[in-house]
């Protein structure tokens, strides 16, 4: 487990999520794919926290509290991203319900009245 490997795992999940976003017809499945995208981001943030604390840590012999804080920024980032993504998916679900009520469909391909 090195930084590069964790980031690669994150990248793979990002790519899988992107594939889902680009290909899934059901808006709900599409929403799930979006969550994968955010999860990939969170993995990367935590990985950086674990492996690359601030540049200052590397050359200074002693570590200070601020530097530890800087290192843990990734964790804070992860928590906030998770919360926002949850709110986003809640709103997206509301929209999907509204769509279902208005058009009796949840396929994203049916939502293409406006074009060109």
């Amino acid at each position: 487990m090195t930084l590069e490997n964790v980031l690669l795992v994150s990248g793979i999940i990002f790519a899988i999520g992107l594939y889902g976003v680009l290909s899934r017809r059901s808006t709900i499945a599409l929403l799930m794919s979006l969550e994968l995208l955010f999860n990939a981001v969170v993995i990367a943030a935590v990985a950086f926290s674990r492996f690359t604390p601030s540049a200052g840590l590397a050359d200074a012999g002693a570590v200070t509290a601020n530097e530890v804080r800087a290192a843990l920024t990734g964790h804070v980032f992860a928590v906030l991203v998770i919360s926002v993504a949850a709110a986003e998916s809640a709103l997206a679900l509301a929209l999907i319900f509204a769509l279902y009520r208005a058009k009796e469909t949840v396929e994203i391909t049916d939502v293409s009245e406006m074009k060109r």
Binding site: R24, I28, N39, D59, V68, L80
Partner: protein, 220 residues
């Protein structure tokens, strides 16, 4: 790489297992036709990710991941799937698969090229045992937990703070993250609250039936 900082083989092995499970579940999420099954795989994938978090010494994030994603988002999605009846069985297969695979592969290639071509400032040169303990171990000793607030200047980094001291109050990274959330990152933290409120209002407004809908194509 510093001896003390090296990842134990067991942890490394566990990481690969967790990653494999996560990736496999994720692939199922985006390929399986039945949306309800996809929701179940999504939950599995979330659990795998939280395992990765634990292995990366991010206990707090891992717990939040399980609470929010596995506990709330997956359930929400699963319920939605059940409420919109025709979704679970009538879902159309994915489309434009090859094009989507190509685009995703390109993005992955971009990420990989970046990751492997960058000289990351790894903490391999780190010698201070306390720092290593703080970053790789479970416990750090930090003054933050003692509640002595220090004002930091604009840049926020080169502050006048002391070194990590042994005599501080004992706390794990969760405490530090918590302190960070209400100190350094209080602004985004509070804003997230607003985001949730706004999403709630928006969601309710869209879901609520309203008396006498306005002219549907009424320009407006």
């Amino acid at each position: 790489m510093n001896e003390a900082f090296e990842v134990p083989t067991v942890v490394s092995f566990a990481f690969w297992v967790a990653s494999a499970i996560t990736i496999a579940a994720a692939i199922m999420v985006v390929t399986v036709r039945d949306v309800f099954k996809a929701a179940v795989f999504l939950a599995g994938s979330f659990i795998g990710v939280s395992a990765i978090f634990f292995l990366l010494n991010a206990e707090f994030v891992g717990v939040v991941q399980i609470l929010v994603y596995v506990g709330a988002v997956s359930i929400l999605i699963a319920f939605s799937v059940m409420m919109i009846s025709d979704v679970s069985h009538g879902s159309q297969p994915s489309r434009a698969r090859y094009a989507s695979v190509t685009v995703s592969a390109l993005v992955l290639a971009a990420i990989a090229v970046t990751v492997y071509n960058t000289e990351w400032t790894l903490n391999s040169g780190l010698t201070d045992p306390d720092a290593i303990a703080g970053l790789s171990g479970t416990f750090i000793e930090d003054e933050i937990a003692s509640g002595e607030g220090r004002v930091r200047d604009a840049s926020g980094i080169q502050a006048s703070d002391s070194q990590v001291v042994q005599t501080g109050v004992l706390g794990d990274s969760t405490g530090t993250v918590g302190a960070l959330l209400v100190r350094e990152f209080v602004l985004p933290f509070e804003t997230v609250g607003l985001v949730i409120v706004a999403a709630l209002i928006g969601g309710l407004a869209l879901m609520r039936p309203r008396e006498g809908e306005p002219d549907p194509r009424g320009g407006g």
